[in-house]
């Protein structure tokens, strides 16, 4: 079964990987370890989970604008997500995705996606394809 979701293109690029889905907004500054890519915000539903090579799906970012730099550092350190899917993009994550060159799409109903789904993202067209067996 395949589900095609149409959103808004934010950062171009294509990516394929397993979804990591959170229903909670994410602060990259203080929320994600830039060296390991592990989510370190206590009380977050993805606490202790690594974002490396995942298609990271969450409603939107929050917190300090320095969070953009954390996304860049994740990419530099080879532990960034392959793509970002948001319900509504916010400036912190958008700027982070631009400078880290991570494909990104928003206006997507995140609740359609489950952690572990195989996902294809086309950031240039704003498409998210869920491929389930």
């Amino acid at each position: 079964m395949e589900i095609l979701l149409k959103g808004r293109p934010i950062v171009p690029g294509e990516a394929r990987g397993l979804a990591l889905v959170s229903s909670k907004p994410l602060s990259f500054l203080g929320g994600v370890d830039a060296k390991t890519g592990v989510i370190i915000e206590r009380g977050h539903d993805l606490y202790g989970v690594g974002v490396k090579d995942k298609i990271l799906c969450f409603p939107h970012g929050r917190g300090s604008t320095v969070g953009s730099y954390v996304l860049y550092a994740l990419a530099k350190n080879g532990v960034a997500p392959r793509a970002i899917v948001n319900s509504l993009a916010d400036p912190v994550v958008v700027v982070g995705a631009v400078i880290a060159n991570i494909p990104m799409v928003d206006y997507i109903d995140i609740s359609m996606i489950k952690t572990g789904d195989l996902i294809e993202v086309d950031g240039g067209k704003g498409l998210v394809r869920i491929c389930r067996k």
Binding site: T65, V66, S68, Y69, V70, Y72, K76, P91, V94, V95
Partner: protein
């Protein structure tokens, strides 16, 4: 979004990676907020300088920019760092931390950005009336829009830096006259005495306003010190970027809401904000950084007094203001206080500097210090602060 021929060339990378990634940031943000084009700015003010706040992650990006010959296209200034390198108080901090802070500052300097290290760049050079800016630092943003009639959105560190390198900002939000109309009338009924009371009013308003612009009536004091505290606090507890004083508002007076602020609401706000502290380790004045006029007032309170041995008194200001207020600096330091430059209580390592409790006349500091440094914090007027520092 419309781009000129030259902007398109930047976008396509003809002027190098640094400008390209910068304009991409601006265009993406512009798309997100419905900007029609980029507009030139008079200056940029960049946050994300304090190592304490930005950590190692940002150094990578700054390095990459500096290595690809990034240069500021307009005047650009920097927010405070984590350390006053000229003051012995900070020499107890770990060496690697001091090194990292120096590295960050050097990277900005390489990019042609002025190392002002202050949250009040408007005391160094006042933006022209009606100019467009790209400023980060929420207290400076609300000050510029409300008291200087210089127009800026509330930028973050990366977008202000991108604007500095391109010399432009996307035309949306507070850059457009139609978005600078007030939609709420605030009637202040509570009697406000000190600048600390204005901070409490600001904390209250920030929460109830969201990002709506108010016209504020009923303020008895309108001196700069009080209005600066009001704005800084509004931007601390909410997304506020602008307010009008009643007599200055010439726009249409059709408000979607009227809010009356009485003593009771402010009392509740104060109690949420401020803890009771018997004897603080630190008395902190100068958040946002002091003006020359404030240094004068503080010096007048301190004249002939002596700061207690078991309390530190910090008066934070920019190097520039310090240099131009010799006479007051001397009074403050003779009394045992420190005029601290380049940093403040919010962005340094308070606990490592031996501070577990503080009293300040700044609602912003009293809000952030417990969150960021896990210290106890209490709000008092400047006059009270000096009394606490010197013993009654």
């Amino acid at each position: 979004m419309y781009l000129t021929k030259d902007e398109e060339r930047i976008y396509d990378g003809e002027y190098g990676w640094a400008k390209q990634v910068s304009i991409r940031i601006l265009v993406k943000l512009g798309d997100l907020y419905g900007a029609d084009r980029l507009i030139p700015i008079e200056s940029a003010h960049i946050s994300g300088v304090a190592y304490r706040t930005i950590g190692d992650a940002s150094i990578e990006f700054l390095k990459e920019l500096a290595n690809s010959n990034a240069k500021a296209a307009v005047r650009a200034t920097t927010n405070p760092s984590s350390i006053d390198t000229m003051n012995q108080l900070f020499s107890c901090l770990p060496r690697n931390v001091i090194e990292k802070q120096r590295e960050i500052i050097n990277l900005y300097e390489t990019m042609g950005i002025e190392i002002t290290l202050t949250c009040t760049p408007y005391y160094i050079r006042r933006p022209a009336f009606g100019s467009h800016l790209s400023w980060a630092e929420s207290s400076a943003v609300i000050y510029a829009n409300s008291l200087l009639n210089a127009w800026t959105n509330r930028e973050g560190g990366p977008s202000a830096l991108a604007s500095a390198l391109v010399g432009k900002t996307p035309n949306y939000g507070l850059h457009k006259p139609e978005n600078r109309r007030a939609s709420v009338l605030v009637k202040v009924e509570a009697p406000l005495k000190s600048e600390a009371d204005y901070g409490v009013l600001g904390m209250y308003l920030g929460e109830v306003l969201g990002n709506r612009i108010p016209v504020i009536s009923g303020l008895r004091r309108r001196d700069e010190m009080c209005l600066k505290q009001l704005g800084a606090a509004m931007a601390t507890s909410g997304m506020a970027s602008m307010f009008y004083l009643d007599e200055n508002y010439v726009g249409e007076r059709s408000f979607e809401e009227e809010i009356s602020v009485d003593d009771k609401s402010l009392k509740a706000s104060y109690e949420r904000l401020s803890s009771t502290i018997e004897k603080p380790d630190l008395v902190l004045i100068g958040c946002p950084h002091s003006s020359p006029e404030e240094l004068k007032i503080i010096a007048r309170y301190l004249e002939g007094k002596r700061v207690r041995d078991d309390v530190k008194l910090w008066v934070c200001a920019s190097k520039y203001v310090r240099r131009n207020a010799d006479e007051y600096v001397r009074v403050i330091e003779t009394s045992g206080g420190h005029v601290i430059c380049d940093t403040c209580a919010v962005v340094t390592w308070l606990r490592e500097l031996g501070v577990e409790t503080l009293v300040s006349n700044s609602a912003k500091t009293v809000h952030y210090a417990p969150l960021l440094s896990k210290v106890g914090a209490s709000l008092s007027s400047l006059e009270e602060c000096v009394k606490i520092a010197c013993g009654k």
